[in-house]
């Protein structure tokens, strides 16, 4: 019974360095418990060695650099992912407008609007004419659509990096 009690005491008091009075006599008689006590007492003693370690300055610097790199990589990839989605949607929108403008020309609506645009700016009007010309052929449409996407993509990336604080955190 005493042995069990003592073992329970040991488990409940891993840091004990003084043996309670009730077990002192038992330890004199029981070699088993006495040696367990010795081990535990020494373990507690070792636990009190307040040694502290630190990585070498080179190891520390290396880890900090790796953390920065990892963060940069993760942020860059999420930035590109985000910009890709945004610019895809934006260019679909722009291409939709261009497509409808080209369609509208069949009904001469484009020409009807043109004088008003010319009033507003004489330079924009020929530019719109050029766009209309590009999008009137199939190959031109594909190239034009790609150009629109890349311009929008570059623009989105640029805007997103203007204010790094507003970037999506990397998780």
């Amino acid at each position: 019974m005493k042995c069990e009690d003592f073992d329970k005491f040991l488990f409940e008091n891993p840091k004990a360095k003084i043996c309670p009075q009730e077990f002192v006599e038992h330890l004199k008689e029981c070699e088993n418990c006495a040696s367990l006590w010795k081990i535990q007492e020494t373990l507690a003693d070792i636990g009190e060695d307040k040694i502290t370690f630190s990585l070498s300055p080179a190891q520390r610097a290396n880890l900090i650099l790796r953390a920065k790199k990892e963060f940069f990589l993760k942020t860059a990839s999420s930035l590109i992912e985000d910009s890709f989605v945004v610019s895809l949607l934006l260019s679909l929108f722009i291409l939709g407008i261009i497509a409808s403008a080209t369609n509208l020309s069949k009904f001469q609506l484009f020409e009807k609007v043109m004088p008003y645009i010319k009033l507003f700016s004489s330079q924009v009007a020929p530019f719109l004419k050029d766009i209309q010309a590009v999008f009137s052929s199939q190959a031109g449409s594909i190239l034009g659509a790609m150009a629109v996407f890349f311009i929008v993509f570059a623009f989105t990336l640029f805007v997103k990096t203007l204010n790094p604080k507003r970037l999506r955190p990397y998780f």
Binding site: L36, T52, L55, R60, A67, E70, P169, F171
Partner: protein
């Protein structure tokens, strides 16, 4: 600052937060491997660096982790085990059946000598037992935390502690 806040700050791009995590936990991680390896400081520092590299890679998946400290202990322990397996190959670990009883009697050993023997013997007993002993006696970790580090139950931890203590006794006294 709490681990969770530090982790959140780090993931939000605060560079200082990583340094704070590193400074807060590095000593504990190095000490764990230092003790388990029987006092190999250089190995402890190398494997700790490896542990923190894993942390950098895994940081975004750690949001659900209740304590970075527990996670680091677990990873450091696993890295240490891998290292031992690779480098010590077939060397059979001692267990309660193979531990030889030391010929010296308790009376002939001085306290200082016992202390040194225990430190040395921690690298000779089964690693899980050594880890449980280390956390329970040196770090005063509760059974629950040790169970988390070992991905195990409190009952299993108790058994490990019991066997570990028994093995140390056989090796030391």
């Amino acid at each position: 600052m709490e681990d969770k806040e530090l982790l959140k700050d780090y993931l939000n791009g605060n560079e200082k937060a990583f340094e704070m995590i590193l400074d807060k936990h590095q000593s504990n991680v190095i000490k764990l491997i230092y003790r388990l390896s029987g006092g190999n400081k250089e190995l402890a520092m190398d494997l700790s660096q490896e542990t923190f590299l894993r942390f950098i890679k895994a940081a975004r998946d750690l949001k659900g982790e209740s304590s970075i400290g527990t996670w680091l202990y677990r990873v450091a322990y696993n890295i240490f085990i891998d290292y031992v397996r690779k480098n010590e190959g077939e060397k059979v670990e001692l267990d309660e059946n193979t531990v030889k009883i030391s010929s010296k009697s308790e009376k002939t050993l001085e306290q200082g000598e016992i202390k040194e023997k225990i430190k040395e013997s921690l690298s000779k007993i089964p690693k899980e037992q050594a880890l449980a002993i280390y956390l329970f006696y040196f770090e005063e970790a509760p059974l629950k935390k040790i169970a988390k580090v070992l991905n195990s139950s409190e009952g299993k931890v108790k058994t490990l502690l019991f066997r570990g203590r028994e093995n140390l006794r056989k090796l030391v006294l």
